[in-house]
């Protein structure tokens, strides 16, 4: 039996006095693409914040490769290989694409290699390399954000609302890339509000409601239950 790459056990977390997660259990095995779905305010982003070390859980355990990492700083986790692409992309809007990529070399990555990899994976970024990142389209900004994430050669990639505000064709293209990354062996936890795109690339999916995971299963089963869950008709387990 393989040790899960990421495991959450009865995880509780929140912001100050406000609890958002009320006992989340999740297992992500190496090479899997896990889709965590749920409506706005379900606690999906908070789950990613805990996994990436930005929020310390108030109870429960976060295990990476079988080791409890509660309280580990986000930079230490990022250096080890846990990488988050946040909602809203997280690029430097006043820098060009090239300058953004240069900023990502702080971890000791070779700039030439980084550029080559980014432009190979996303040729459109090469065409825009002298353009300010803030003036790129949403999809191109997301490509740049993913390039940043891949610059550290992550073992675990956390993607927050990749499709937010993007046209369906762009979403399809981005998830095509995600699918390629998964085939290369990268483990990915994807948080999404809109499920159609992500269920096509995921190997396992969960529905999260009110800070709890209410259903976990194969993507096709989850797809069938999703509408009912969003409308509040799902049973608690």
């Amino acid at each position: 039996m393989v040790t899960p790459l990421l495991e959450l056990r009865n995880l509780r977390a929140g912001y100050g006095t406000i609890d958002v997660l009320h006992g989340v259990d999740l297992v992500l095995n190496p090479g899997e693409v896990y889709a965590l779905l749920g409506p706005n305010g379900a606690g999906k982003t908070t789950t990613l914040a805990v996994c990436s070390g930005q929020i310390t859980p108030s109870a429960g355990q976060v295990l990476v490769c079988g080791r409890e990492v509660n309280g580990t700083s986000s930079d230490a986790l990022a250096r080890a290989g846990v990488c988050l692409v946040p909602e809203g992309r997280g690029v430097f809007p006043n820098l060009t694409v090239d300058e953004n990529l240069r900023m990502y070399t702080h971890a000791g990555v070779n700039y030439g290699d980084l550029r080559e990899r980014a432009y190979t994976q996303f040729p459109r970024l090469k065409e825009r390399r002298r353009q300010l990142a803030g003036t790129l389209s949403g999809g191109e900004q997301q490509m740049l954000a993913i390039s940043r994430a891949l610059s550290t050669s992550p073992a675990l990639l956390l993607l927050d609302e990749l499709s937010m505000g993007l046209a369906p064709l762009i979403v399809e293209e981005l998830y095509g890339r995600v699918s390629e990354l998964a085939r290369e062996g990268l483990s990915i936890l994807i948080v999404e509000q809109f499920a159609q795109a992500v269920l096509g690339v995921s190997t396992i999916a969960s529905i999260m409601l009110h800070g709890r995971i209410t259903r976990t299963g194969p993507p096709h089963e989850i797809a069938d239950e999703l509408s009912a869950a969003y409308l509040g008709a799902s049973s608690s387990h």
């Binding site: 393989v2 790459l5 977390a13 929140g14 912001y15 100050g16 006095t17 406000i18 095995n29 190496p30 090479g31 899997e32 693409v33 929020i55 310390t56 859980p57 108030s58 990476v64 490769c65 080791r67 409890e68 990492v69 509660n70 309280g71 580990t72 230490a76 986790l77 250096r79 080890a80 290989g81 050669s153 073992a155 675990l156 505000g165 369906p168 979403v171 399809e172 998830y175 095509g176 699918s179 998964a182 085939r183 062996g185 159609q196 795109a197 096509g200 690339v201 190997t203």
Partner: protein, 124 residues
């Protein structure tokens, strides 16, 4: 959406070199255990220090009333001063930690409102 992926390799395959390296790096991580809400602990400690300080001061004051020995008086005086210091420090700690909790909540709320407003503007 029509994106369909081959199911990625999972489970019983041996770990790739990158995953082995990742596992080794995770083993070396400094894990503190962390605390989600450190202000609460300090608030409780501040409250206890405040209460103990007040009690010590009152006890010292009562004891000074029943003694004529200047040596006893000096030690009760020291106890009273210590109690007052403890009460003041405890009150300060309690107030600072209460404000920190409040402002953390306020900041979260503020960020949430800003994002919500930005979403509304974009969707118009």
């Amino acid at each position: 959406m029509t994106v369909t992926a081959e199911t990625p390799a999972t489970s019983n395959e041996p770990l790739t070199p990158r995953l082995q390296q990742f596992q080794a790096e995770v083993e070396q991580l400094k894990v503190t255990g962390g605390r989600a809400n450190p202000e609460r602990t300090w608030m409780i400690l501040g409250g206890i220090a405040m209460a103990v300080g007040v009690v010590l001061t009152l006890v010292a004051w009562i004891l000074t009333q029943g003694t004529s020995s200047s040596l006893d008086f000096a030690s009760y005086n020291a106890m009273g001063n210590f109690g007052m210091t403890l009460a003041i420090a405890g009150t300060g700690l309690f107030l600072v930690m209460s404000l920190r909790r409040y402002f953390r909540y306020w900041l979260v709320r503020f960020i949430y409102e800003m994002r919500d407003q930005a979403d509304r503007v974009v969707s118009k």
